[in-house]
Symmetry: C2
Subunit: 142 residues, 2 copies
DNA sequence: CTCGCTGCAAAAAATTTGCACATTG
DNA sequence: CAATGTGCAAATTTTTTGCAGCGAG
């Protein structure tokens, strides 16, 4: 099952309706290799989706862990989901500074880092944001 | 020498003028335990500083590595600087979800993580953003 | 005295809200 | 048909730009 179908199923399971705007936003994000803003998504829909609707759809999708906000830009990117569970996966991205291409990565070491930080500070750490920036395979060759 | 004096000296050394707005913004950020937006800084100045000026001062301070933008909120926080060098220090923050208190931390492990990611992906990684969220000592007791 | 910096006005961009109507289940 | 979700209008918030005048060096 592909990203869109899984996402729609999760929405349904969580009591959300499967509407055309939601499906359309998922399709646009699924196709894109880079993160997109609400306005960019509205544009890519041929303006069929109002920006306000896009904002609200994005909020819903994010709450259900179906998409991920790139914190340095505020734009959105689909993220890995599976039929079994989409709960609290630790999402990290590498973002190409040149073309915007984003790849989701697996970063096992962070739980260790969190433990080290926890014991070196007086904080109780609950979560973190981590984004890497650089050049993707194509752009580093130029 | 304290934060403000060092910062002003660095500005001077880099060819920037030492102006009252710059000094005032530095003072406000120095006093604050949490990150502040341009509007909050303007307010804390008793509206003596125009928001536009604050935006421009913040931009200058950031370019000189004297302050640091909290990427998840867009607000600014002073960061560690020394008379000798303020170049490209790797800044990481722990941010209290409850009260907003921010502490700058030293996070040695990240260069190792960057190397691991580099070798596991096709990207040439240049930098990263890392922020931790949790509860500070005071707030975790409540 | 000169160049860089600030303040004011205004524009542009990003995000949120209210409400009537449409759509899903 | 009942509850959610959408579209439009409008308000709010955030950030940027232009330009005249001020002030640091």
């Amino acid at each position: 099952m592909n990203y869109i179908d899984i996402a729609l199923k999760i929405l349904k399971d969580n009591g959300y309706k499967q509407t055309k705007p939601r499906q359309k936003v998922l399709e646009i994000l699924d196709k894109s290799n880079e993160s997109l803003s609400a306005y960019e998504i509205s544009d890519k829909s041929g303006k069929k989706l109002d920006v306000v609707t896009v904002y609200r759809v994005l909020e819903t999708l994010e709450q259900n862990n179906l998409i991920h906000k790139v914190v340095s830009t505020g734009k959105y990117r689909k993220c890995y989901i599976s039929e079994k569970s989409n709960l609290n996966k630790c999402h990290h991205n590498i973002i190409c500074k040149n073309c915007g291409y984003i790849e989701e990565i697996n970063c096992e070491g962070m739980n260790i880092i969190e433990k080290v930080i926890s014991s070196n500070s007086s904080f109780k750490i609950e979560n973190h944001v981590l984004e890497f920036y650089g050049l993707c395979q194509n752009c580093k060759l130029d």
